[in-house]
Symmetry: D2
Subunit: 402 residues, 4 copies
């Protein structure tokens, strides 16, 4: 259980930290300005492509992806780098081509895709030329129970025909989002974990309609393609678009979730660190009743609690990364669920205090805190609500004593 940074991590950290200072932080106000001036309301501002080019030039690229297709880092090597990118969550992950949901989709294609699928979709994703979406959640059922998913994927000759409605499909409003991985039922009569399959649907396929952007606490998240409601009305794709075999959908989803969760958690810690820094700076810089706000006992309590909580959380994320590297995702199941449960609540709490320390400004577009909060809040649902994970974790704990 060695969490020390190895030589490669140290080197990449150095390059990345330098890049944050020289490019990412200075780009933040530019990004905000360009957002206001966009013509397409769902596209990323041009600065994003510039940052991607700069990052790639420095070798800061595809860190998330192990193996030959990506940077080949272990989870433990990636963790501290992902944390750093979390400090500027709108710019740094995408600049390094490490933004969700592309990351998960690339993992799926790298692990399960055919050569043809990889060539057609993985490669342009790896090159940051297109973006992608993962269509699982449905508006009409409690998707936390995967068996509820009702979109149908029916074989019809050499094709599959897809019917259903999905929502909160992140990134799908962006016209650069060229490919959807869709989860649906190929066999409603199979045993529960073999009913689902995943299939590739290119944007523009007839019958696929991106209806509208769903909001998250008022944010449309348009700079990274929003969260779409999407309708599949007799959408027909060639049979070879199926990923792996019929009935593999649940297993593929599981394989995808482990890394996805840990990436979210790593970045969230970066968010928390930035919030603490902002809370310190703000309360040192403003005074009430003749003394800096930072002198107040209650504010110091927030800062101390934040530090104590972050330190614990980071170590658990690192341990989880190390376990995934050494015993695999299945062996790290309890830890993956644990960080999934612990991270949003911890970081939400810290952001809430940082917002409070900023006064009304903390709620506004002038500071990133409120938007960070909303984004973190979604993690209590994403990949299943906390409550489902807690129940599953508890049952595993109880099983030892039966």
């Amino acid at each position: 259980m060695d969490f020390a940074f190895d030589a490669r991590t140290e080197e990449l950290r150095g390059t990345l930290l330098e890049f944050m200072d020289s490019h990412i932080y200075p780009a933040e106000p530019v990004f905000d300005e360009q957002l206001e001036q966009r013509t397409d309301p769902w596209s990323a501002p041009p600065i994003v492509d510039e940052l991607k080019a700069e990052a790639r030039k420095r070798g800061l690229w595809n860190f998330f992806l192990p193996g030959e297709h990506g940077a080949g880092l272990t989870n433990l090597q990636y963790a501290p780098l992902a944390e750093i990118t979390g400090r500027s969550p709108h710019l740094a992950p995408i600049a390094l081509n490490c933004a969700a949901p592309d990351t998960g989709n690339m993992e799926v294609l790298a692990m399960f895709g055919t050569e043809q699928q990889r060539k057609q979709w993985l490669q342009p994703l790896l090159d940051g030329e297109i973006r992608s979406a993962f269509a699982m959640t449905e508006p009409d059922v409690a998707s936390s129970d995967a068996r509820n998913i009702s979109t149908s994927i029916k074989r019809d000759g050499d094709s599959y025909v897809i019917n259903g409605r999905k929502f909160y499909i992140t990134g799908a409003m962006n016209p650069k989002c060229q490919i959807f991985i869709v989860m649906g039922k190929t066999d409603p009569d199979a045993e529960p974990h073999r009913q689902q399959s995943q299939i590739l649907v290119p944007r523009g396929t007839p019958g696929l309609t991106v209806e509208r952007g769903m909001k998250v606490f008022g944010y449309d998240d348009s700079s990274h393609g929003g969260h779409a409601e999407v309708v599949f009305d007799n959408v027909r794709v060639p049979a070879e678009n199926l990923i792996a075999e019929e009935g593999d959908g649940f297993a593929i989803a599981q394989a995808r979730l482990g890394p996805g969760r840990i990436h979210h958690c790593m970045r969230s810690i970066g968010v928390a660190e930035r919030a603490v820094e902002m809370m310190c700076r703000r309360t040192l810089g403003r005074s009430t009743f003749g003394r800096p706000i930072a002198d107040q006992g209650v504010v110091q309590d927030w800062i101390a609690e934040s530090r104590v909580r972050i330190e614990q959380l980071r170590l658990l994320v690192l341990k989880t990364a190390w376990l995934m590297d050494t015993v695999g995702n299945r062996g790290a199941h309890t830890e993956i669920q644990s960080i999934k449960i612990a991270t949003p609540l911890t970081v939400e709490w810290i952001l809430d205090k940082a917002i409070q320390a900023h006064g009304a400004g903390g709620l506004s577009q002038d500071f990133p805190l409120a938007e960070m909060w909303a984004s973190i809040r979604t993690l209590r649902f994403a990949d299943g609500p906390d409550e489902v994970h807690k129940r599953s974790l508890a049952r595993r704990e109880l099983r030892q004593y039966k």
Copy 2:
């Protein structure tokens, strides 16, 4: 300490509940639709004026205002009515001409305005023909210490000249907002509580620029005029626009805050009740793993806790209203602070659970929960952050033992 509804309250409750069912709830989807189709991005949809006409016809009008100018209700009479309007917070309060910040501004004009000021500004506000703003918070200082407010109001012959910058000026983006009550310093050398004054500034006065809408967790709150950043650059108004005397600003602000706080709290309880109802309906209507979500122990725990907390909170709000009626705002100081502290945290907690019970939809524009949450969150700052009120309350408690 009698909180029972008297005959007038009962009668008005009956009329109001009928109006909610027949007009307000059915108007909610219409309102959302019209919002999408507005030409002016900061105006209320036309349904609002229709609802106002209907409400006024039924005598559901200006409940908030005691005395001859308003409905003449006591706080205790108004409390249960305000709670009901809180169930549809975007429509019901404005329909009854009981929406902030007009309510506070009308109170100030009724209490402190000259006959001329009342004729010119109070009357059209009472008639719901114009709207108004209250300009106190400043972006560059911690406004929780009123002494920090730095906007200057300088006497110059028969005029006052105003210079400063304000933000989070609710309602000011709305072109119907015709009058600003501005708080600023007339005498920086006076003793702390006599430095401030309040003055009337009509929209359109040269030098007054409404610069932009501030957001609250991504919401621009455009349907009720948003929250503006406003600049006063050598804004000149006649000396008779001053409200009361030079140096009275702090006292006027205090007089305004008591009722404002209790109105917010009353409505917030309505918000909480609606959230509990939605949480119950949703969890009864969706199933996971073969049983309604409402059967889950954790969900039942949320529902029970919500009920227990609401019941306590409502009683404290009622007691506060009763105290304000019987011993005045000063005598109710501890209770006013107590509900100001307790309400947002309690209602936030309930909304958070209701959101969680709704899955991703709970974050979206399809349910009012996320927007309600953001709105309630602002109350932890509005009229001073909780931390300032807690300190003040604790010092009063300690004083008894010195």
Copy 3:
């Protein structure tokens, strides 16, 4: 919903407050001293009987019992008096003959007892001459589900024969405890709510063994007779000792619990008030780093939170009392459960902060805070764990929407 004190309440409050100052508070150190010097380790010190005589002389007697047998107060009249007694929980309730479990037992005898039962047991209890116990909880089953109770009460000719084991039988270690009301099964085959009966068992009946005192966080609570483990081994009592009819046990228990819960809650608020007073006095009287501890922001936060929470809780208890008086215990079911859930957590929190404010002394026998905490902690189990009450309350809430 009028919570004002009526004339009788005001008068009794005056007398009681005077009695607290003149007799109860001065008796506290005497009580502690006499406890050390007792010969019987499970008896009350002699000061208790002196206080009882003094209280009775002043008409401060049997406040808890409505109707002809007691003081005839309503719940709403009793509530503020009970709160005052809670400030000195070891002395004031017993001095007024208002201490559990006698109170509940007297209620049961007054409501359900035969003339003979009342003459033999109720009268000496009303006179404060003997004490009593209520034997329901069992060590070997989860008693929160009353159907689990396994003590058997079998008819045999003119007698009933009782077999079983009970624990946490409050007061039973005290030799003055002369009568046990025992809950057990007369008919295991009846429908669930008709299986149980209650029966009177005098101390000294052959087969009844008081085995040992159970502790509560190290306290043996010996001054009020402790909490005994009791064995019933073929205990035979005359058939006329049965209370009401066979199968009425559950209904009697329910009738008993309503008032019992509200008395506990009323007194607990008195405990909380005393804790706040002690917290204020202590933090004003000690300094660290050159300033009184009361100046620290975190301490002020505790004090303010305590005040805000107490005010809400007290009002809910008063409303519950008022409801019990006006619509009966059944109509007040939700409120009785609500105060049962809210009170221990609220008062525990306040006591925890008061302890922390006292430093190590707060844990010790030199201040009543730690013992108060332990006593309040038991309320999260007493009459059923919070979790059972929350579930029941939530189901009633959900039922409205089914």
Copy 4:
């Protein structure tokens, strides 16, 4: 940052785990029985000495002490062993001669003692032949500010004369406690951190009176010598009893606290693990309403939360141990404070839930949970209240941004 167990740790863990199973757990009921039968109310039962002999035979001895005098383990090696001993906190630490306050006192003597002091006091402590006490906290001042400590230590010829009153002096009621390390002021006029000194006072020195045992939530902790109130009335000891130099008291206390805190935290995690195990076993073994309590969602939530919190906490304790080993106590300051803050609250929460899961029994002497809770609660004061540590930690965090 490598937390893996090295070979030596693995070997010792194996031996220790075997010893727990073969000797410690079986001794628990014997210990409880012998406690009841003691003649001296403040002595350890004889089983303790037997366990010590057995442990020493196996090389399970003085793990806590680095360097030549002890087992020579690093903090990181000791951590997982200390955790295991925490599972039986009354027996395992003392069996291994690793119980506070002897541990801290041995550290002080090993680091600062003269050869004579080490020979006379350290050696018998290392051999487990005598016990010792550390006398710092005073009843009359807020000891969290060390400058408040008012016991005087005055040089008088070849002696020092000590006057003052101390309380919560752990272990001092035990007649085997032969030596006191006393903290007091040698120079009230020196700069704050140079006023204090530490001095050795043997039991039996004239003027030293052990007055009474202080309780902790009703527990007298008599099996390990209780917590005494001690008076020093012109106690005269030879000048060579001073530890190090005059004015070094504060520095010695600091040196002592680091390891003391981490030992407490390590053991507390063992306490938490045992509580989770007990919670699982109990809820699997009891049923309500026809299903095991472990099936209830709220109980599963407790279990999952407990696991998530323990995992985070343990890692932070391990990191702290590792830091102390690699950069020293000063470099681990933030982490030492962090675990001091986080541990009691986390473990308290888990114990509270485990108690609740046990019903009334959870409060009793039949399960160790309530006593564990009381013991953990004291850690929020021990070595300074959490509030002092949070403030200090926050100020260090803020300093980075000044």
